[in-house]
């Protein structure tokens, strides 16, 4: 009867299919890992600084805005961009502006401090 022959053929086919699947999977796993680079923000600064931009400049989340965090973030970011230490004036003033915006010192609030 042909049944054992067919059974053997089926097993062989399954084995080959399995072998190629495993090879494909290994090739997939072994593909060169390109580190997923975070995409840089586009364009320049916004014409009027928003709270969102300010929080981005200082590297803090908008939910976690407290005066202490803002001042601490401002200090940290200014260290990297201090004009006297090789930073640019423009960036330094943007950082200062970001701090003012987040502390509510914009012209709209008219805060005395």
């Amino acid at each position: 009867m042909a049944t054992p022959f067919l059974a053997g053929l089926a097993v062989a086919t399954a084995a080959l299919a399995g072998k190629y699947s495993i090879q494909a999977w290994q090739a997939f796993k072994a593909r060169p890992v390109v580190p997923r680079m975070r995409k840089f923000y586009e364009g320049g600064f916004q014409p009027t600084m928003t709270r969102r931009e300010a929080s981005l400049i200082l590297g803090i989340s908008r939910e976690a805005v407290t005066p202490e965090k803002v001042k601490e973030a401002h200090r940290r970011v200014m260290v990297a961009n201090h004009p006297d230490a090789g930073g640019s004036d423009y960036l330094a003033s943007k950082i200062n502006e970001a701090k003012d915006v987040l502390l509510g010192k914009t012209k709209s609030s008219g805060s005395a401090f």
Binding site: F40, Y41, Q46, I57, V79, A80, G86, S88, S93, D100
Partner: protein, 86 residues
């Protein structure tokens, strides 16, 4: 210090009006890197490296992006210049 009245805010608005698009203007790019029109590409490259690395260390990713975009913006300009007949 009233941020809305100082020169930088005014310049930023002018930058935006002038370009009318999301792309960074050359003027702003130079301001960000702290270079002038007369700066050489070497100077610009150096300023970029310093600012980029320092912001990577203790600045914000947003500022790093701006520094990077500023260099990109000026790179095109300086590369074009280099290819012209002297």
């Amino acid at each position: 210090m009233d941020a809305s009245k100082n020169g930088v805010a005014q310049e930023t608005i002018q930058n935006a009006v002038r370009r009318g698009s999301k792309a960074m203007s050359k003027q702003e790019a130079r301001q960000i890197l702290g270079v002038t029109e007369k700066s050489t590409w070497d100077e610009i490259s150096q300023r970029y490296n310093v600012l980029f690395e320092r912001n990577a260390k203790s600045g914000s990713f947003y500022l790093q992006s701006k520094v990077h975009r500023a260099k990109e913006c000026l790179e095109a300009l300086h590369t074009e210049r280099g290819q012209g007949p002297v």
